[in-house]
Amino acid sequence: MTDATSSPMPAITPVSGKGSLMAQDARTRKRNAAEARFKAYGMIAIGIGMLMLLILVFNIITRGVGAFQQTFVTLEVELLEEKLDKNGNRDPADLAKVSTFGYAPLLRDAFEAKVAELGVETDLDGKDMADILSAGARAQMRDFVLANPDQIGNTVSFEFLASGRVDGYLKDRVSRDSIANDKNISVEQLDLVDQLIDGGTVEKRFNLAFITGADSSDARPESAGMGVSMLGSLFMMLVVLVLSLPIGVAASIYLEEFAPKNWITDIIEVNISNLAAVPSIVFGILGLAVFINYMHLPTSAPLVGGLVLTLMTLPTIIISTRASLKAVPPSIRDAALGVGASKMQSVFHHVLPLAAPGILTGTIIGLAQALGETAPLLLIGMVGFIASNAPDSIASGLLDPNSAMPAQIYEWARRSDPAFYERAWGGIIILLMFLITMNTIAVILRRRFERRW
């Protein structure tokens, strides 16, 4: 400061002699114009970003929202004893012998009866009429009969899913023109569907099974759901949380508070930063080689997926934890040490609680990243027809083959029936909901608990 005042003040000389503060000269105008241009560029950039986001959200919602609705057919089916239980003794073993194919005639009869009741005129025979229904309808009846053998002989009202093509017709994906060469559905069947809609038998409404259900085979897109793969993701996230939080926090506390500053810790630090930038597919290959081929953990298991994603999440957690430990002012540590606390007491009683919101935020963001990760899962066998059995215990949740939400979406997007494409977009909506919720929690935690010095 003293140096500055000692230098002589420059003499104020008028720039052009006739300059006024009210009238801008050419150079000022130029500078102001440059600033205005820069602001405009910035706004254009934000505008483009917002527009992209809007297009993305609009596309996802318009394409995916259909997956949450499904076409249902209500039908009264007479559970004929002669077809289902020839011996008439309701022996579960006998009942189980009738396969789903044995239930097809009941559906045909039920359709013929319904058509007669509504007075609908159609040239279709019972089998073609029953093709309006999902192939899963027979399994639905069989499960019901096995669970309620006393209902055999009665007429029971079922709500069946309509086939993917019929569902597409109600969602305007399928039209009479587009099925000209399609051998899975005919114009007569669509005519019948129109009449059944008028009769109140066929209707489209919200389908909870899309959120809770299991994946289904390529032949019945109408019954595919996200539920089981959602559980797979949940178990993977549990593994990630339970492993990466303690390991990550322990590593960063040691590095930040206890480790001597020398070239070894420098190398470790650089490598952690590098690890955070490693493409996730690399962790997938590593997981395949180490966890599956060497350690012989089961393929497609959420445990392995969780281990791989832990490797991926660790650097993120370590970096954010170290940043929040660093943000705690040294005066806190000094004060604790000054009143006689040990180094460990100062860290665990004072520094860590103050850094906790930052650590939690980092962890949640790391988890959200891991939740949306697909590439490593492709390599450890989580793509295919996997998510078909809901796990019945924690051990089976960790070890039985399962898929994960992003892997399930990938799988649906590549199946041939366009009905799966819609479900892939629906799956994206569910996945985004999870990510938005997690990120919102992170933001709230940070706003609420973060302290600034």
């Binding site: 051990a395 590549r414 041939s416």
Partner: protein, 346 residues
């Protein structure tokens, strides 16, 4: 401190459960993405009709599936490998090296390979194998010399075809479909046009001439698709003149966007393929590890269920989805129930 306790206990649980994982109770299948839809349909029906859990079907391609299949015997290896081609001698040898000796081969049916273009695109209605060879070959013999393929439009190839640029989307080399395409279309076309003979007259031996016949041009007129048929469909969607190679089942699910061309004057359908009239088809297989039968619950039941009349027969759900039923299904059923292994029972 609780962190340490927590993480050690978790590791202990993980290690313990890894040892209990030995008791695997569901059938695991891996392999061809062409067979995947069929295998998943059967797996689903199997889960519905039997007390066993639904088998797990992973995709990844025929070669990758067979490689995993041959890794060894034990609960950590897959029980069944799906393949869109027959197992190679080399793979059988690799299997034997790892102790996988008794392999049951099961042919489930046939798959047609169709040539389709945009619904509103140019009139690609009739093809001959020779058209594809002349359009896609890297080099063709002209007047006694081998020159780089000069054809730029389909009309150059065959005056009856539309006068539009050649833009073909064919399966990449990692697909089993590519092999069939090369053998049944390119090689066939090469022989039909006399190009093969011309090359042999120029002094090439038969093997060299065959591989010259199957070499595809790399100047961008033909694009290898390494992904799935959905990727080929997306390419066709954005290119009016594009023509792609698809499986019959995929085409039948997307008839609103695609129109199919005849090959050699025959329209592809399950009927023409089962009679052998339509020239481009291939058998689909799965391979079962005999050593796992009786160890993995439900494995034999699943294999038998797969080829049962009500599943793989002409009226079953597989045929409905696009599989061409095997006329000799009965022989396959006997082979599965007798557990006949490759190379005969020894």
């Amino acid at each position: 401190m609780s962190f340490v306790k927590l993480s050690t206990s978790v590791l202990a649980v993980a290690a313990m459960s890894a040892t209990t994982a030995v008791a695997r109770d569901q059938v695991q299948v891996a392999g061809s993405s062409t067979v995947l839809p069929y295998a998943s349909i059967v797996a689903e029906a199997f889960g519905e009709n039997f007390e066993f859990p639904t088998p797990v079907v992973e995709s990844g391609g025929s070669s990758a599936g067979l490689k995993r299949f041959c890794e060894g015997v034990g609960e950590n290896t897959v029980d069944i490998a799906n393949a869109s081609r027959q197992i190679r001698d080399r793979e059988v040898a690799a299997c034997a090296e790892n102790g996988v000796t008794d392999i049951i081969e099961v042919r489930i049916g046939y798959d047609g390979i169709v040539f389709a273009s945009q619904q509103d695109g140019p009139a690609f209605n009739e093809f001959e194998p020779s058209d594809w060879y002349t359009a896609l070959a890297a080099e063709i013999p002209v007047d006694g010399a081998i020159v780089a393929n000069p054809n730029a439009t389909w009309a150059d190839v065959n005056a009856d075809l539309p006068d539009v640029d050649i833009a073909a989307f064919i399966p990449g080399t990692k697909h089993g479909t590519r092999e069939v395409f090369e053998e049944k279309v390119l090689l066939q076309g090469c022989e039909d046009t006399g190009a093969m003979q011309a090359m042999m007259d120029m002094g090439l031996d038969e093997d060299a001439a065959e591989s010259a016949c199957m070499a595809v041009r790399t100047d961008g007129k033909s694009v290898d698709i390494d992904g799935d048929y959905t990727e080929t469909l997306a390419r066709i969607d954005s290119n009016t003149n594009g023509i792609g190679v698809f499986g019959l089942a995929f085409y039948e699910n997307n008839t609103d966007k695609l129109k199919v061309a005849t090959m050699g004057g025959v329209e592809p359908s399950t009927e023409t393929i089962s009679t052998g009239e339509y020239p481009v088809s291939r058998p689909l297989f799965f391979y079962v590890k005999k050593a796992h039968i009786g160890v993995i619950p439900g494995l034999k039941e699943f294999a038998e269920f797969f080829v049962a009349d009500e599943i793989a027969g002409p009226d079953g759900p597989l045929a409905e989805y696009g599989l061409v039923a095997d006329p000799k299904l009965e022989e396959t059923q006997t082979a599965v129930s007798d557990e006949t292994v490759l190379g005969g029972n020894s």
